[in-house]
């Protein structure tokens, strides 16, 4: 029979890992407890999201934000169907995500050793999303400065921006400082789309632009009146967790 002698962490190691978890969360610290004899109930113990308000940057430098707004406007261009990624607030969304538990990977498994791994084994590098944006944006602007006559990405014409993004997506560009072009492109695409399609409470999808575009009614929670109306358009406009368009002060 195999046995395993377990090396336990010291109290200090364990407490520091708990503190880390608590800091990463949005809510109050969670403590162990015993419950018996009744369903526990505490008033106001729910944990709603906090509305992101645009204005200022918490993670990006103004220069980085300009780059990302230019990227967001090419990934999701303004056209007859919707406003563009910048006006939709996708970069405000991203900025706030990068200062939270997503940006610092505090919910993920981040212990070493770090080895490359196979594609089926997923992302294996130690860098957090926050670190990848810091390095990736600098590398993107470094690339365009060299290849496009000293211009930063945001200063390029729209067609040139599209060409650079297509080459990033295809891995045809070698970015400086060992930034993986395709991987960084996929990160930006994933996050910009999240911002565009998530509830506006997180700072993107301004005025529910993407939901109106698709016809997604958002946070409505009861479709019993329409379930048997097959193949007929749903009549009501979208609502957000924060309410309907009409309730929102501008």
């Amino acid at each position: 029979m195999e046995t395993h002698c377990l090396k336990r962490p010291t109290r200090r190691q364990f407490l520091s890992s708990v503190a880390f978890t608590i800091l990463a969360g949005s809510a109050a610290p969670v403590l162990a407890r015993s419950i018996s004899g009744a369903l526990p109930w505490e008033a106001r113990s729910a944990d709603p999201p906090v509305q992101v308000k645009p204005g200022g940057w918490l993670f990006f430098t103004p220069e980085e934000a300009r780059t990302m707004e230019a990227v967001a406007d090419r990934l999701i261009p303004a056209d007859d169907l919707s406003i563009g990624g910048k006006d939709a607030g996708c970069v405000v969304y991203l900025d706030r995500q990068l200062v939270g538990s997503y940006g610092n990977s505090s919910r993920l498994y981040t212990k070493g050793p770090f080895m490359p791994g196979l594609p089926t084994q997923g992302y294996q590098a130690p860098d957090t999303p926050a670190q990848r944006y810091r390095a990736g944006i600098a590398a993107l602007n470094g690339f365009t400065a060299g290849a496009k006559g000293g211009k930063r990405f945001a200063e390029l014409a729209a067609e040139d921006q599209d060409a650079v993004l297509k080459d990033l997506e295809a891995g045809k560009i070698t970015l400086p400082d060992k930034v993986d072009a395709r991987s960084f492109f996929n990160l930006m695409l994933t996050n910009v789309m999240e911002g565009f399609f998530a509830d506006p409470v997180y700072g993107g999808n301004r005025d529910m632009a993407s939901w109106k575009m698709l016809g997604f009614p958002g946070a409505r929670y009861d479709y019993r009146d329409h379930v048997s109306k097959h193949n007929q358009p749903y009549p009501l406009p979208p609502v957000s967790i924060a309410g309907s368009m009409e309730w929102t002060t501008r």
């Binding site: 029979m1 336990r8 369903l39 089926t120 997923g122 399609f197 409470v201 929670y221």
Partner: protein
């Protein structure tokens, strides 16, 4: 009890004895706690995650938040708490899944039963006695490259346990076979059941309605998927009331704010939590089961709370009711049974790990509006014509099969934006194609069986550790060749169905070799502590009692000797009731003794 580690000393507080300690308070832990407290036993459940309940944690004001729950995975086990490593075969070095992707274990009270979709199936007798059945029909040579085993039970032994779980949970469906009489509109391939489901099927949305018409025209037998999203208001046998599902489209990955999706919260806990002989300790992680010197008897469990304080909870019985994979790891960390070795085929803990073999189809229309956001996790239609042993495998080169399901569960736009193949991923052309396809696409999928092989197994990783320094679970898995052939054959049938819809175009996503841990596939991880007839090839007997340590029961999909082409929860619930009956009616008369002689 002091352990010297470096210059620090960890004190372990010894707590007053309990009759029963349960590890994990999800579906199985809640059912067993309820059943055993009925006999007056003093029961404590120790749950790694937080207390969770509908109004506070799945609040109707903000439950419908795709980013928070589906993308950032707020309700799931976080890898910082416990990750697992994976590889496709023993020639590779396993790496940690730094984020969960292919499957999403639950966390907290209610477990994965909080965030499931609600498909509630019964496995068939031809599953439980799979070796007998396949050998009789096709000969032993047909299954020689698989490690299939009988489960040690027959389907009819489990009928009343399935029935009780379905009535506890208020399952909505249409019986296909009541006491041998085939029922129009139900699943003609299911085993006989004693009575119909407690609730009628859900009202169908447009896509499954069309799927039923098309598959009927192809001489298949569609029926409403048995659903834990309730078609009507319901009061279950414990007196707990649930509400009608509103088809909000926020089911899998979400808790239900409507009390409409069956879970421990909506079916058991309101009664269980009022009992004076029950206690749950939340945010407390069990480190291991403590055995006595004989290694044949469990003394209790050691756990740690959020302050890093360690406790020893003595108990006469230990029930492992965590997620199946966690049950297996806890057995390994505790020295219960022998860890499976794929080289020799010896050892039972970690044996017969299986998964699910799925594929998909999409049909793109120009002139239809499916309103994809009007949906529920299990609202749809299924055809079992090509599932399990419902069809003749005589001329075929595989065993097993798949249910074909049209269950469009949501229109949540971060994740559900179908576009035809070749569509750009960004820019104006992407946007036009996305808008055109959003409401006009019908998807259906196959959920295929996963059969055990000698090389697919679980053990402890030699390199990567959790936050307490314990080794992570290591998954070594790839889709067996048999299952790939099965899926290719079923997917070919799906292509015929897709063509028959007459849409503008269709797209098929077949299953290929090389299990990828990144894209979501299924949280139907089974096996590793399987039930069976023989202690040399199974970790627990038919009552889910450990062969090695008889006062330990290991309850969950960890007990499945293989996985069928069906979601596991119905069978998990039935096994929980079956084990509870065995404990109440047999074990308690002779505590500590094996219920089946080895």
């Amino acid at each position: 009890m002091d352990d010297k580690v470096g210059d620090e000393t960890i004190m372990t507080t010894i707590l007053p004895r309990k009759d029963v300690v349960i590890v994990g308070l999800g579906w199985t832990g809640s059912i067993l706690a309820h059943e055993l407290t009925e006999d007056g036993l003093d029961v404590v459940a120790i749950e790694r995650g937080p207390w969770r309940d509908t109004a506070t944690d799945f609040n109707i004001g903000y439950a419908q938040d795709e980013l928070r729950y589906a993308i950032r995975k707020d309700l799931f086990l976080q890898p910082v708490t416990e990750a697992m490593t994976m590889r496709n075969n023993t020639s590779q070095t396993a790496m940690p899944m730094r984020d969960y992707g292919s499957f999403l274990p639950g966390n907290g009270v209610g477990g994965a039963g909080v965030h499931w979709n609600g498909h509630t199936w019964r496995f068939w007798d031809s599953d439980f006695r799979i070796v007998d059945n396949l050998t009789r029909k096709y000969g032993a040579a047909r299954i020689a490259d698989l490690q299939l085993q009988n489960w040690g039970v027959a389907g009819e032994e489990l009928e009343s346990a399935f029935d009780r779980f379905e009535y506890l949970a208020g399952i909505s469906g249409k019986a296909g076979n009541i006491k041998g009489e085939i029922q129009t509109g139900g699943n003609p391939f299911e085993d006989p059941r004693s009575r119909d489901y407690p609730l009628p099927p859900m009202q169908m949305t447009y896509a499954p309605t069309l799927f039923a018409e098309v598959t009927k025209s192809l001489d298949l037998h569609p029926f409403p998927t048995p659903s834990a999203n309730l078609s009507e208001d319901y009061i279950n046998p414990l007196g707990i009331a649930m509400g009608q599902c509103t088809m909000c489209g926020f089911c899998e990955r979400f808790g239900c704010a409507n009390y409409s999706k069956s879970s421990a919260q909506t079916t058991v806990l309101p009664v269980l939590m009022r009992k004076k002989n029950f206690e749950v300790r939340t945010d407390s992680e069990v480190l291991h089961v403590d055995l006595d010197v004989s290694k044949k008897h469990a003394r209790g469990v050691t756990y740690v709370n959020t302050s890093g304080e360690e406790f020893f909870q003595p108990a006469d019985m230990v029930l492992l009711c965590a997620y199946g994979l966690h049950n297996v790891r806890l057995m390994m960390l505790s020295g219960i049974g022998q860890i499976y070795d794929p080289g020799t085929g010896e050892g039972t803990v970690g044996r017969n790990y299986c998964y699910q073999t799925n594929s998909g189809a999409q049909v793109f229309f120009d002139d239809k509006n499916f309103n994809p956001f009007i949906a529920a996790g299990a609202l749809g239609q299924t055809c079992d014509d090509y599932n399990g042993d419902a069809f003749d495998h005589g001329p075929l080169d595989f065993v097993g099969g798949a249910g074909i399901n049209c269950i469009p569960s949501n229109g949540r736009p971060i994740q559900t934006r179908p576009t035809p193949p070749g569509t750009p991923r960004w820019g104006s052309a992407w946007k036009q194609a996305t808008v055109k396809a959003y409401k006009a696409t019908l998807g259906f999928s196959s959920q295929g069986s996963s059969y055990p092989t000698r090389g697919n197994y679980l053990d402890l990783d030699p390199t990567y550790k959790d936050r307490f320094g314990r080794p992570l679970l290591r998954i070594t898995f790839d889709f067996p060749d048999n299952d790939i052939r099965m899926s290719a054959w079923v997917t070919n049938k799906m292509e015929g169905i897709a063509k028959a819809f007459g849409g503008r175009q269709y797209n098929i996503s077949p299953r290929r070799k090389g299990w990828d841990s990144v894209p979501y596939q299924s949280t139907h991880n089974t096996g590793g502590a399987i039930m069976g007839e023989n202690p040399r090839t199974s970790a627990v007997n038919k009552y889910l009692q450990s062969w090695d340590v008889p006062n330990v029961f290991v309850v969950g999909a960890s007990a499945f000797a293989h996985n069928a082409g069906k979601n596991p929860t119905g069978t998990v619930g039935a096994l929980a009731y079956f084990a509870a009956d065995a404990i109440r009616q047999q074990y308690l008369r002779n505590p500590g003794q094996p219920l089946v002689s080895a």
